[in-house]
Symmetry: C2
Subunit: 365 residues, 2 copies
């Protein structure tokens, strides 16, 4: 990287100091007092994801000198989590913070706005969204539901989950009662898994009673709170169905449109700050949580190569089926795949080679 | 990841609609009209890095309804790039946008606020800064220079640069006239390299005339503009001295302190939005540039393992020397190393395994 830069320019003579503060005119028309309600799709114990809503409210409040107040509520407090996007789209509340994939039953294309099996990693999802055309593609889809959205964080690559018995080959998936989300469940169903939608607080009991054989949740920081290593100690990785799961801030499209430009700019910048904070929290806290989980009995195991290969094939089959039925899915899936393949072409050079060496050298540096 | 969430809560009856806009009181005291000058450390042809200053000015203007105007200037236009941090620290201009490592000759600890040989990758640098204590550690250092700073983008892992002849073993580094920045140059000097500080626009001629044997710059997107593949076709990777180079927005500390809280919040959020944009632009544009470079004759080659191992040893020696002389360096280097080692402990599990599979499966997915 350059650390010496063109020297040809000379210091301009007589640098003016900054303009002194002037009395600002009252501009009530562009800075209305507003109070908006924000429903999170996440319960309070998912502290990083729920905390994103609290950070967002704080930043927007500070940046507007208290004129634009956002009131965050955890999942279920003002609207049920499963109806969150509808509540925002219909204007019952103004903002939501959730994964698009939470509404995947409504339209599978929404999964692509979060993460899909063998999709983009976190940096790729962000680059695709901000600079690769995804925001524009999804704006059309979201508009149908009365919504507009901004990126609001990413968990990074997730874990494959907690298993009572190690998965050694694809046959071990047969009949497995596995709590697994969204398109990942549909992929695994093709391999004989029986996907379940057990809620987080019920996972421990379900694994203990053998109502479940396995459960994926997020990653070390959030998983640790569930204590699943005591009842399902094999901790498989990676969660190939969520290589970098993005969450979004959702806005009622009409109310967004009516905002003054200045507030739109504040919301956009605040969402970006929150997104960086969410990623940084996961990256800073997952390592310690992983250490504690392993000390507490978690047995870290990669999914066998044969299992991941079978899942890749099943995913490609699923994408073919969804694309045949759903032109939006086909169009946006193809765009994602194109971006992903180019991204990994480049990632395999400097980025991956660097990480590869650093992982091996970690103990020596 | 959860896609079904607690169902226990019921829709609260009678959701109030958002408060209607009220006339806002004039608050001239908290929203002064300001014009600040921003000196970029980057010339205009580093379009992503210089573009960050333009985006920052636009966002701050929009978010403050035009009250806070920021006037960006490219490197050398209002202050020479090499004097940029001094110009901000002394209050000649209010803002700079540059790598801390540009001032590494003043204090080597500044390199740690950008990237160091075998340091953090881009996500790690961000997590260390935002959630791992680095911002607080550096705030003390920067205050000595009259500065305060916010993250303002990251290039991602850089390339190792352009070589007229392939480096096949550490002996090939002997006497090599290599344009290489900062601590990377000091590391390579221990291996016999003669580090040079040739400016970007002069690299082509210097390589062609054999005044230089090699030159590193940034990565495919920025390197492509220099056309170096025609005179130094071997494109080595990775740039192990910059695994994820962070740039910062710098503010004059006194002027920052005097800002109303609302403007501080706007600057912070705007910087985060710009940082995400910078990373996304590099991630979206590097792949295409890499393809074009290879089509134009660039020969991609990893640095031999033996060379990287020798550089790791030389880096650890350098860190020992710098730590013995400079207590700030020792303290902050140890903090970075601790964070880095934990981060890679976790990255090697889900994140790296996912990327590893995706790189291999790219052509099949």
């Amino acid at each position: 990287m350059p650390n010496t830069l063109p020297r040809r320019a000379l210091l301009s003579a007589g640098l003016a100091t900054a303009a002194a503060p002037l009395a600002a005119p009252a501009r009530a028309e562009t800075a209305p007092e507003l109070t908006w309600r924000l429903g999170s799709g996440f319960p309070k114990n998912l502290d990083i994801l729920f905390g994103a809503s609290e950070s967002f409210a704080r930043i927007v409040g500070e940046a507007t000198d208290g004129r634009f107040r956002i009131q965050p509520a955890a999942a279920g407090e003002i609207v049920p989590a499963e109806g969150l996007l509808d509540a925002v789209g219909s204007g019952k509340i103004e903002i939501g913070h959730a994964s698009a994939s939470a509404a995947v039953a409504k339209d599978p294309v929404l999964a692509l706005a979060t993460a899909t099996p063998f999709g983009l990693n976190a940096r790729g999802q962000s680059a695709w969204w901000l600079q690769g055309g995804a925001a524009e593609l999804f704006a059309e889809i979201f508009a149908k539901h009365g919504l507009t959205a901004l990126p609001g964080g990413n968990t990074g690559a997730q874990m494959g989950g907690w298993f009572r018995k190690e998965i050694k080959n694809p046959t071990d998936l047969q009949g497995l009662k596995f709590r697994v989300a969204g398109l990942g469940g549909q992929v695994l169903a093709k391999l004989g898994v029986s996907p379940q939608t057990t809620a987080g607080p019920d996972l421990y009991a379900a694994l203990e009673s053998k109502a479940l054989d396995a459960a994926e949740w997020i990653g070390p920081h959030d998983d640790e709170k569930l204590g699943l290593q005591k009842v399902a100690p094999v901790y498989h990785f990676p969660g190939f169905w969520e290589g970098g799961a993005m969450v979004l801030f959702w806005f009622n499209a009409e109310k967004w449109k009516a905002l003054p430009k200045t507030y739109k700019a504040v919301l956009q910048a605040a969402a970006a700050q929150v997104a960086a904070e969410v990623q940084a929290k996961y990256d800073a806290r997952n390592p310690q949580a992983l250490r504690r989980l392993v000390a507490g009995g978690a047995q870290l195991r990669p999914f066998p190569q044969e299992v991941i290969e079978a899942a890749l094939k099943a995913s490609n089959d699923l994408y073919g089926e969804l694309s045949a039925k759903n032109p939006d899915f086909k169009r946006i899936y193809e765009a994602m795949k194109g971006f992903r393949n180019e991204e990994y072409l480049w990632f395999q050079v400097a980025e991956y080679t660097y990480d590869n060496f650093m992982i091996r050298a970690r103990a020596r540096g």
